[in-house]
C-alpha cells in the first residue's frame, strides 16, 4: 500500500534497449523535504531512469518505488507525483486551458484548479490560445501547470530549465525550494551542474548509465583538495621552504605560479615571510564544480 511518505526509491535499476545498456544498476533515493539534483551529461540515462520511475518504461531489472509501491499501483498517481518530462507533448490545436481541463478530469480535481495552476505558472493571459503558438518556455510552464494540477507530494522534472529565460529559471529555483520546504520531494535532472547548484540539497550524478557520485554539494566540493596559487619571483626557494614544513604537494602551473595543495594561504604567507621570499600574488583556488562534474562524468567509472 501507498505509505504516503513522499519517498522515491530506486534499487539496482537497469534498462537495456537491444544491445545498448542505457541504465546500469542505479540505486538512489529521493527524500521528502529536499531537492535532489539528478545530474549527468546528455545520453547518460537520466531520462530513461525518470521514465522507469514513472512506469512509462519497463525496467530490464531492478525496481523503482514511489511511496513504497510501483507508480502504476498508486491509487491516485497524479495526486502523488507531478512530472515534467522532455518530449511531453501537447496537441497543437488544443488551448492550454482545455489541455488542463482534460487533465483535471483524468486526475479527478475540480475545474477551478485549472485557473489556479494557470496563475501559479504565469500563463493565465495565454490560456485560451492554441499551444501551437507557444514558445518553448511557455510549453515548459504549461507542462509544470499539468504537473501541479493534482497538488502532488513529489515533483519529478526532466531538464526543466530548457527553454526558460533567466527570469523563468530564477522563478523555478525559488518555486522548487519552496515546494521542498513544505516537506515535499523534488527530483530535478540537468546536464549542467550550475543549474541545480543553488537548488539541490542532494546530488545524484550518473554517467553512462551508472551512478558515479551521491551526496551533498559540500561532499562533492570536499572530494577535491583546494590549492593555494602563489605568484612569486623565486618559486624554487619558496617550494624548498614549504617542503621543510611538510607541505609537499607543489606544482608549477603553466603561467609560472606555484599550486600548493594541502595547506592554506596563511601558512604559505608565513613560510614566505620567514624564508624572505617576496609574494606578488596569493589566491586560494576556487573549486570549479563544473570542471569537477566534468571529470566525474567523463573519467573512468567510479563506484557510487
Amino acid at each position: 500500500m501507498d505509505d504516503r511518505s513522499g519517498r522515491v526509491t530506486v534499487r539496482e535499476l537497469s534498462k537495456r534497449f537491444g544491445s545498448i545498456t542505457a541504465v546500469d544498476g542505479v540505486t538512489f533515493s529521493v527524500e521528502p523535504g529536499a531537492v535532489t539534483g539528478f545530474l549527468g551529461p546528455n545520453g547518460s540515462g537520466k531520462t530513461t531512469t525518470l521514465r522507469m520511475i514513472l512506469g512509462l518504461v519497463t525496467p530490464t531489472s531492478g525496481r523503482a518505488r514511489v511511496n513504497g509501491v510501483p507508480f502504476a499501483e498508486l491509487a491516485h498517481p497524479a495526486r502523488v507525483v507531478g512530472a515534467v518530462l522532455e518530449a511531453q507533448g501537447f496537441h497543437p490545436g488544443r488551448t492550454a486551458r482545455k489541455h488542463l481541463l482534460v487533465c483535471a478530469a483524468a486526475i479527478g480535481v475540480p475545474d477551478a484548479a485549472v485557473d489556479h495552476v494557470l496563475g501559479s505558472v504565469g500563463l493565465a493571459h495565454a490560456a485560451d490560445r492554441g499551444v501551437r503558438g507557444y514558445s518553448l518556455g511557455m510549453r515548459q510552464r504549461l507542462a509544470l501547470a499539468v504537473a501541479l494540477l493534482g497538488d502532488p507530494q513529489v515533483l519529478i522534472l526532466d531538464e526543466p530549465a530548457n527553454g526558460l529565460d533567466p527570469e523563468g529559471i530564477a522563478w523555478l529555483r525559488a518555486f522548487l525550494r519552496g515546494f521542498a520546504a513544505q516537506g515535499r520531494s523534488v527530483l530535478v535532472s540537468s546536464h549542467l551542474l550550475a543549474e541545480v547548484e543553488q537548488t539541490a540539497d542532494h546530488l545524484v550524478v550518473i554517467s553512462r548509465g551508472r551512478c558515479v557520485f551521491q551526496g551533498s554539494l559540500a561532499q562533492l566540493r570536499g572530494s577535491r583538495q583546494t590549492r593555494v596559487l602563489v605568484q612569486c619571483p623565486a618559486p624554487a626557494r619558496l617550494a624548498d621552504a614549504l617542503a621543510r614544513t611538510g607541505v609537499l604537494e607543489i606544482d608549477t602551473l603553466p603561467d609560472g605560479r606555484l599550486g600548493v595543495a594541502g595547506t592554506d594561504s596563511v601558512h604559505v604567507g608565513d613560510v614566505a615571510l620567514a624564508a624572505g621570499v617576496a609574494i606578488h600574488g596569493l589566491v586560494e583556488e576556487k573549486i570549479d564544480l563544473e570542471q569537477l562534474f566534468f571529470q566525474l562524468t567523463t573519467g573512468p567509472w567510479r563506484a557510487g
Binding site: 531520462t47 512506469g55 518504461v57 519497463t58 498517481p77 507525483v81 507533448g89 482545455k98
Partner: protein, 271 residues
C-alpha cells in the same frame, strides 16, 4: 474509469478532428441520398413505389464506417504523434483502462457520425426522391444498425491506433485494407472451389459491416427470396449471415484487435 472517460470526452471536443471528419461524411450522405432520389426520378416506371432511399441510406452508412474508423485511429495514434500519450499514461498508468476509455469514446463518436449521416440522408432523400417513402421502422432499423457498425469501426480504429502507434502508418493501413485489401481478399476467396472457403468472405470485418447494413434494405427492396443474393452482390460475399450475425462477427474482430492493443500497449516503452 469514470475519470478517464470524462477526460476522453473533453479531449474529443477540444480539437477539430471530430467535426473535420463529420462534415465531409454528412455532405457525402446528402449527395448520395439526393442522387438516389434523382436516380429514382429518372426511371419512374421501374422505381415507382419502391423505397430506394433505404438502399442509398445503407450505402451512405457503409461509407460512414470508414470515416468512423479513421476517427478512431487518429484519436489514439494522434496521442503518440503529439506525444500527449506520456501525460495520458501518467494520469492513467493502467494502460488497459486508457484503451477501453478511448475505444468507448470513439465508439460514441462513430455512432454520432452514423446518426447524423442517417438524419441528413433521410431528409435529403425525402426532398429529392419521387419514389415511395420507406416505413419509419425500416429507416430506424437501418440507422440503428449503421450506428452500431460505425461505433464498432471507431472502436476498432482506436484499438488499432494502440497496436500501430504511428498515425500515418495506422491510417494508411486501415484505408488500404478497407478500400482495396479486403476487395482483393474477397475476390481470392470467392474464386475458390470450396463453398466453405467462399463463405469466409462474410467473416471479413469490412464485409461483415456491409452485410449488417445491407441486410434489411435488400430484403425490403428485393423481397425475401432475392434479398440474400442482393446482399451477396453488394457486399461481395457468399452466403451472408443475418444482420445480427454480421454485427457479432465485426464485434469479434474489434475484440481481437483490442486484445492485441491491450498486450502491445502494456509492453510498449513510452520514450
Amino acid at each position: 474509469m469514470g475519470r478517464l472517460l470524462r477526460a476522453e470526452v473533453r479531449k474529443t471536443f477540444s480539437t477539430k478532428l471530430w467535426w473535420a471528419l463529420l462534415v465531409p461524411v454528412a455532405l457525402l450522405s446528402i449527395v448520395i441520398n439526393l442522387f438516389g432520389g434523382l436516380f429514382t426520378a429518372a426511371i419512374p416506371n421501374e422505381g415507382a413505389g419502391l423505397p430506394l432511399l433505404l438502399g442509398s441510406l445503407a450505402y451512405a452508412l457503409g461509407l460512414t464506417g470508414v470515416f468512423a474508423a479513421c476517427y478512431g485511429v487518429v484519436a489514439m495514434a494522434g496521442e503518440f504523434r503529439h506525444r500527449t500519450i506520456t501525460t495520458t499514461y501518467l494520469m492513467g498508468p493502467r494502460r488497459g483502462r486508457v484503451l477501453v476509455a478511448k475505444m468507448a469514446t470513439s465508439a460514441a463518436v462513430g455512432a454520432l457520425y452514423a446518426a447524423v449521416v442517417a438524419l441528413v440522408g433521410v431528409l435529403a432523400g425525402l426532398a429529392g426522391q419521387a419514389g415511395g417513402a420507406p416505413a419509419v421502422e425500416q429507416l430506424l432499423a437501418v440507422s440503428a444498425i449503421g450506428m452500431a457498425v460505425a461505433a464498432l469501426w471507431s472502436a476498432l480504429g482506436s484499438a488499432l491506433g494502440t497496436v500501430i502507434s504511428n498515425q500515418v502508418g495506422a491510417l494508411v493501413g486501415i484505408l488500404v485494407y478497407l478500400l482495396l485489401g479486403e476487395l482483393l481478399i474477397s475476390a481470392l476467396l470467392n474464386s475458390a472451389n470450396s463453398e466453405a472457403v467462399r463463405r469466409l468472405t462474410a467473416y471479413l470485418p469490412g464485409n461483415a459491416g456491409d452485410v449488417a447494413i445491407y441486410d434489411i434494405p435488400a430484403h425490403v427492396l428485393a423481397g425475401n427470396d432475392l434479398g440474400p443474393t442482393v446482399v451477396e452482390t453488394l457486399a461481395g460475399v457468399t452466403a451472408p449471415p443475418p444482420w445480427w450475425g454480421a454485427l457479432l462477427v465485426l464485434a469479434v474482430w474489434v475484440a481481437a484487435v483490442a486484445a492485441t492493443g491491450w498486450v502491445v500497449g502494456a509492453r510498449r516503452d513510452v520514450t
